[in-house]
């Protein structure tokens, strides 16, 4: 496979590079979020045998733009007894880290704002800041449902960060680098084949961290109204919404980069491959939302600590052993082995821990 790597400071000059990429990333995030919202609504509609948005433009394509416009001109309501400054700051604090994540996402060879040699660690670190914005929103609203949502967010972030980071370490071991560019360059075999268990754990944990269904307990509308953004309206609500879908976009991009070979692929231009894979991952996220019912909060905690955490440790141990003891063996040998390991471990663990999946304990 031919890999055309662009020079790291493409297209030349430091400041030009910085300015072009900053603008491009902002436009990319805003545009893709609008597309994703439309896509999710349409895909959900198909899965639930209804029509979905189909009035604004062809196939309802302009629905997201119309919604954004509506949010912009709506009245902004702040709770009278809330903390006004924090209430105002919260959406910003939630949204900024999401955009910052894209600084190290390689769109195609060399097209990256900053090829940090701590790339994936930077992502893990920056994305943890979004949680601060969410509990700022929950606390400043001075509303019990908002506070409950924020507390659930805190609990899930603390628990799910660990399996997510541990499953990323498996990828880092295989690639031998933390840099996103190097991780893509190392994937002659997409890491989803070499790290099937790691992929599963990362995907589960990431869904929980960004509050996507079935882990959307921070905004579980059947229990706590809308969780942390119950008291938000107008563009501040829009910004929180943007942060949420921005996170989904970021997770899709990170999964693409870490496990699906990033922008690499035959025939099509790299950027198109990247977009296709991101779209595919997001489709799976929507699919899961349409399929799996929401967990209870105790099930959420049990899943993190009793299921994901020990499996992530085992995955790390097995990956490290494979790399340490059989460095000369072709990586293809490990593909069937790792798949077998994944199936055995997942089956075994689901026997070990009956988490009350749907069963009512007496």
């Amino acid at each position: 496979m031919a890999m055309q790597m662009l020079p790291p400071d493409w297209p030349g000059n430091f400041w030009a590079h910085w300015a072009i990429f900053a603008v491009a990333i902002l436009v990319f995030v805003l545009l893709m979020v609008m597309v994703f919202i439309w896509f999710e609504r349409r895909a959900l509609a198909v899965m639930q045998a209804r029509l979905g948005p189909n009035r604004a433009g062809p196939f309802g394509l302009f629905q997201s733009a119309a919604d954004a416009l509506k949010l912009l001109i709506k009245e902004d309501i702040v709770p009278a007894k809330g903390d006004k400054l924090v209430h105002w700051l919260a959406p910003v604090v939630a949204f900024v880290p999401v955009v910052l994540i894209f600084a190290v996402v390689p769109f195609w060879g060399g097209a990256i704002l900053a090829d940090l040699n701590i790339g994936i660690l930077y992502i893990v670190a920056i994305s943890s800041v979004t949680a601060v914005g969410i509990f700022m929103a929950g606390w400043s609203s001075n509303n019990k449902y908002s506070t409950l949502g924020a507390m659930r967010q805190v609990a899930s972030v603390v628990s799910y960060e660990i399996p997510v980071v541990l499953s990323v370490v498996g990828v880092v071991l295989l690639a031998g680098s933390l840099s996103m560019q190097q991780i893509v360059a190392a994937q002659d075999i997409p890491f989803i084949l070499l790290q099937p268990l790691g992929f599963l754990l990362f995907f589960c944990g990431a869904l929980a961290e960004i509050n996507r269904a079935p882990f959307d307990l921070t905004e579980a509308d059947s229990e706590i109204v809308a969780g942390f953004f119950t008291e938000y309206s107008g563009m501040k609500f829009g910004l929180l919404f943007l942060a949420e879908y921005g996170e989904a976009l970021a997770i899709s991009a990170i999964v693409t980069t870490l496990f699906l070979g990033g922008w690499r692929g035959p025939l099509l231009p790299p950027f198109l491959w990247f977009l296709l894979k991101v779209g595919l991952v997001f489709f799976v996220i929507v699919w899961i939302r349409a399929t799996v019912p929401r967990l209870r909060i105790d099930q959420l905690m049990a899943l993190a600590w009793k299921f994901l955490f020990p499996l992530a440790l085992l995955n790390l141990l097995i990956t490290a052993a494979e790399i340490l003891f059989w460095p000369a063996v072709s990586l293809w040998v490990f593909v069937p082995i790792n798949f077998a390991v994944m199936i055995i471990l997942v089956l075994l663990w689901s026997k070990f821990f009956k988490l009350g999946w749907g069963k009512v304990e007496v």
């Binding site: 660690l121 949680a131 601060v132």
Partner: protein, 162 residues
Amino acid sequence: MGASVAFWVLASIAVLAALAVVLVRDVFRAALSLILCFLMVAGLYITLSADFLAAVQILVYVGAISVLIILAIMLTREVQRGSPSNRFRLPAFFVAVLFFAGIGYAMLNTPWQISSTPPLEPTTPAIAGLLFGEGGFILPVEIAPLLLLAAIIGAIVLVREK
């Protein structure tokens, strides 16, 4: 030039945020100022070319420790009253001034050695070598988790229902 501007901006915001932690009455805002302070310290690490340390600072301090502090605040009763000062106000002030003077004296009178070698480009292998390599700090690295494990078991024993 650029680096020194960045240093002064980051350092002054860090000091202001640290002061806010102590002076602001609203406990939740104080915790948020603490987060801002941690972020600025991470920025200072970046100006020192310690990128790994900066990321870990954000991950551990902003992502984990602050989150736990906020959780503790959320479980606190009557948080609206803020943090009223008590009779230790004056003694605490004097201790703080003494501590500040001591630290300042030590800083100004230490002959700091400034390395002339340029900072390492990928910092992670060097750190890994120091932590786990030959003649590194493997013993302290292993003792710290043992201590933490003991602390965790202690905490579980303390809160366990009889």
